[in-house]
Amino acid sequence: MTLEAWILFALVLFCIGLYGVLARRNLIAILIGIELMLNAVSVNILAFNHFLAPDPAVGQIIVLFIIGLAAAEAAIVLSIVLTVYRQRAAIDVQDLKELKG
């Protein structure tokens, strides 16, 4: 596998994730999409790291940071999802349209 192939693979994953973010109505499903996007970035970085990097530890560390941040982000998003659910008894993004000018 070439570097291009890996990057294109990452891009495919990223866009599938993007599709999930844009198309899904369930807030948790949107979060799934975001996780896919983040993972696509990880693939990208490790691919660059594998083929190009002079210091392979750096790429791995970036990915570890991404994983850590993703976990933190998921915690916050999920807690917000819970409050949304408490207020509206649903986690449908289409219900989130009360704020408007």
Binding site: L11, I16, R25, N26, P56, G68, I76, L82, A89, A90
Partner: protein, 177 residues
């Protein structure tokens, strides 16, 4: 080569399931499959430590948390389905973005960069190297990450906390109406 193809196939298939099935639990399963596939991919990219972390934190942590959230917020009703219009629009946007980026990636020449690639540096791939880097160049980020995790946990608790004492029932009723 074949292994890589297979891994990619598994990941993409899992991802497609994750974003398309109606049942949210199934979608999380799809995500789990995709993440597992990616863990294998990381192995192929010669980063076993990251692959292990992926399994531990992502599959073991984040997806489980999602399942908990689903259980806590289950409406008991059927999941809301997406209309065709939404899907088509989302698909178009994703494809446009993909084409734009793929065009750039395919168009760029990685040859010169490859030439600069170093000889095999086995030692640099080791867990020790990661540890060393974390305590040198990345120590600020590493400390900061621990703060981020603290904030996230405290924040999640704070956001999700209810007030059972009923301090201002008026506002609660109004808000919860």
């Amino acid at each position: 080569m074949i292994a890589a193809g297979l891994v990619m196939l598994i990941s993409v298939a899992g991802a497609v399931v994750a974003v398309s099935v109606k049942n949210i639990v199934h979608a999380i399963f799809g995500l789990g499959i995709a993440l597992g596939g990616l863990a294998l991919a990381f192995l192929l990219l010669s980063t076993p430590f990251v692959a292990a972390m992926q399994v531990l934190i992502y599959i073991g942590g984040i997806t489980i948390a999602m399942i908990f959230a689903v259980m806590l917020s289950s409406t008991g009703k059927h999941e809301p389905g997406e209309g065709a219009r939404r899907r088509v629009l989302a698909g178009i946007v994703s494809i446009v973005f993909f084409i734009a980026m793929a065009w750039v990636v395919v168009g760029s020449d990685f040859g010169p960069l490859m030439e600069l690639a170093p000889e095999d540096m086995e030692s640099a791939w080791s867990v020790q190297a990661i540890g060393r880097a974390l305590l040198n160049d990345f120590n600020v980020a590493f400390e900061l990450l621990s703060v981020v995790l603290l904030v996230a946990i405290v924040g999640a608790i704070s956001i999700a906390s209810r007030h059972d004492e009923g301090e201002d029932p008026a506002i609660n009723e109004e808000g919860g109406a």
